[in-house]
């Protein structure tokens, strides 16, 4: 399962640097992705690329780093953190210039050496609080 963990790590990390080759290499043509913030499943390698491009265009210089991984029974669980600067529109929110740090968990299911399905939950509310569109408690604010 070490190889699967490495593939999951690469598929999560590398596209955020603008290198999408890893998606064509390791995401199955019939891939289905379930994201807690998406109403519809993400389908196929192109769906994954479009999804990441949407966030990359909103968060300049954003990078995903893997914090931890566990593997069992053909699945890899990855805990990750994305950091970026909000320089483009996302969910109707105009650019704020704020740095945002968001964490999440992705479970990747493998078949035939490729990722065929993923389930991702991430701190959407935390992102909205950091962007200032959801009121936060005064104690949590910096300065």
């Amino acid at each position: 399962m070490e190889a699967a963990k490495l593939i999951a790590r690469r598929v999560l990390e590398e596209p955020w640097t603008g290198d999408f080759d890893v998606i064509d290499e390791f995401v199955a043509a019939d891939y289905v992705g379930h994201d807690s913030a998406e109403p519809e499943p993400i389908r196929g390698p192109n769906g994954v690329i479009e999804f990441i491009q949407r966030y990359r265009s909103a968060f300049g210089g954003a990078r995903l780093t893997v914090d931890d991984q566990l593997a069992e029974g053909g699945k890899v669980a990855t805990r990750w953190t994305v950091r970026g600067t909000h320089t483009g529109e996302i969910a109707g929110i105009g650019p704020t210039g704020k740095d945002v740090t968001v964490s999440g968990l992705t479970i990747s299911r493998f078949a035939g050496g490729k990722i065929v399905e993923q389930w991702t939950t991430w701190d959407t509310l935390g992102m909205l609080v950091q962007l200032g569109v959801v009121p936060s408690s005064a104690a949590s604010e910096v300065h």
């Binding site: 950091r83 600067t85 320089t87 650019p95 704020t96 210039g97 704020k98 740095d99 945002v100 740090t101 968001v102 964490s103 701190d123 509310l125 935390g126 609080v129 950091q130 200032g132 959801v134 009121p135 936060s136 408690s137 005064a138 104690a139 949590s140 604010e141 910096v142 300065h143």
Partner: protein
Amino acid sequence: MSSFFTSQHMPCAECGASVRAGERERHTCDPERRLEYRIFQMRDEVARLDISLGAFLETPEGRFAQWLAERERRNPG
């Protein structure tokens, strides 16, 4: 309006840097980051200034100002 919603990280109001909850008291702004953040907040104003400056330079008064500036640059003092 108060709320119980909080986040482990919050952007600094002065410089926009993402600061972890436990590090808020120790955070100090990087001057370069603070300047970038402020300019970013003023980007619409800066864009408007560029447009209005361009328009001014096309007016007779603006053309004269350019001519005068060029003359003074060539003959300082």
